[in-house]
Symmetry: C2
Subunit: 395 residues, 2 copies
Amino acid sequence: MKRVFSIIAMLGFAIAAWGQQALGPGSGIVSPEIHPDHTVTFRYHGPKAVTVRLTGDFLPTRPVEIETGGQKLVYDAPGVVDLKEGPGGIWEYTTEPLAGELYMYTFLVDGVKVMDPSNIYQIRDVATWTNVFTLSAEPGDKGWYYEVHDVPHGSVSHVWYESPALESKQRRLSIYTPPGYEGSSARYPVLYLLHGSGGDEDAWTDLGRTAQILDNLIAEGKAKPMIVVMPNGVWFNQAAPGAAVNMFQPTFTNSRSQSTEEIENSFPDIMNFIEKNYRVAKGYANTAVAGLSMGGRQSFMLSLRYPGKFGYVGLFSGVGLTEGNEASIDKVFAARPRLYWIGCGKADGVMVNTRKLVDYCNAKGHPITFYESEGGHTWRNWRIYLTCFTQQLFK
Amino acid sequence: MKRVFSIIAMLGFAIAAWGQQALGPGSGIVSPEIHPDHTVTFRYHGPKAVTVRLTGDFLPTRPVEIETGGQKLVYDAPGVVDLKEGPGGIWEYTTEPLAGELYMYTFLVDGVKVMDPSNIYQIRDVATWTNVFTLSAEPGDKGWYYEVHDVPHGSVSHVWYESPALESKQRRLSIYTPPGYEGSSARYPVLYLLHGSGGDEDAWTDLGRTAQILDNLIAEGKAKPMIVVMPNGVWFNQAAPGAAVNMFQPTFTNSRSQSTEEIENSFPDIMNFIEKNYRVAKGYANTAVAGLSMGGRQSFMLSLRYPGKFGYVGLFSGVGLTEGNEASIDKVFAARPRLYWIGCGKADGVMVNTRKLVDYCNAKGHPITFYESEGGHTWRNWRIYLTCFTQQLFK
């Protein structure tokens, strides 16, 4: 028996390894290796490589100028460092001690982007794949919340609903149900959580670590058990790549996809589907909406369009216009939302419009919670915002 | 508004693009491009590259010799071809016309494995990522069944159950529920579908295209609506990478993971969880088990251990030993299974043991269905077997 299965295993290995021309998994190379002092070593087997470099969001940033439509913008691009070649063609680089976080990186081998063959952890952000790893420097830091711990786990389901008015009638959404949902008869409050431009219904679970953050917060008693509904917010897409009819490359820079009115119009289709098929506690005290970037704008518009519907609203690095919407904003607050939470990074281009909304609300005495964070328009911030926001819901 | 959001979009793009040193998505490069005559063009932007090659399972194979534990094995490795450099540093290669199939490939840029930056479709097989694309040469060919079509879609959920006896008590499984399951009160038959060595509860949905195959077969009336339960079959793992506590590199070649007795022992934990929490039609006429490779061995052993429990059994490129199990095999057939389906490729190392079981059953007059296919120990075969097997269930 043993012999037969070792042959099978080898066959399988050979089949799986065909694309992997470098030393593959099982080569003994560990990368990334997280050390007890929270430094991290990256390794790459490249005996024929001339240069092996590493780019990652834990390295000191470098300013990069980009130009678009006649405008010049400077943003802080992640740094690049050289790995050093050692015995056996193994290249290595070790970082400074790192804080708890979910980090992203790739190698540059002779100038070409190469995924780390020793690390199968990858996440797609719109149309770019990068390697990832999580590090918790101490229990309870933000990296800790992004990791899977030995706590009760909720379920994540990908389900389809109908939205007859939209171009793509059959649409997919991701649903987090909290631990114990199965086999219970309890009803749960619902957070509708919306992604940004270029994203899809997988963005919040994959990049946002929603299931891990909720599992960990619920286990600690810091968040109430809740259902989190993550729809696809691009009105003409039905689903994430791979789940949709036709192969497509998602993109940020599609002005058609920036139109969010269609989703706002059809939002009742989503809520009706959820309220019909899940054990939902209804009413504004049990209903929240939040989103990042484009999803923040959608959440803002949804709060204006349906005042009194959402007891809790979260705008993460995304708002709509204050000018022209003053009367609608006043109506929102006349319906006394329990929490109107606005988060934005100091370096974020969205801060201009965010500040206008914050100033208007402050001037009118509308009770908002404003979290002005460090950093910019990044998933790093959106994970933090989600961790903060969900602790204040349904209490 | 437009101006603000174009800045945001650009910021987002710049952030997402940092790892992507070549021309990224939106560059206008289309790869792979599937032409009306079913030839496929691959493109790579590499103005500094010296050689750009392509390896994929649609190219003529080449024999490769591997040695393991003193044994020499020859297997057919996918071929490698050169791309040709054209204007602007765009390298290109066009295939012969291809049959309908899910195909896998990667580039080799100056000898280093590089994912196609114009194709975000990737699938992980154990610890190797490769680019993928599907092609349906004509409606109803096998590639067609692996694609998403405009038919009603079932849900795929990732849920956790408890198995107190196992080393990892909290364990994750994937569940396909058919279109209409939500909002219905009907009870459905269940197929338990098991992965191979090195796999996990995501293998059948990702590489096996289970949801697409079932959606399409059900829409055509060729398969009965059914629930498909895909557990994690490695007894000491709790979940796929990313969903489990601790980061780990999955591997085939771990003798500990070849031990399947623990899962067989604890299989009632899975069935009890499903029968308690899903609308399941019980009884052997409504219960099937099937698996590939290691999962085929598990399915065989489960059929022996619980005769009369599974009315339908599918062994895909994996069986247990016939010698010593004759009496148990006779008991299985005394309980009159409705279908005992065995599939194996002619070039598969598992054929030796498969043939022994087939010969034994034929000699004893036990009614089996034996499908001797072309090819070997590959996902290409397992998708075909699933497509055949599920059409014969619960009828």
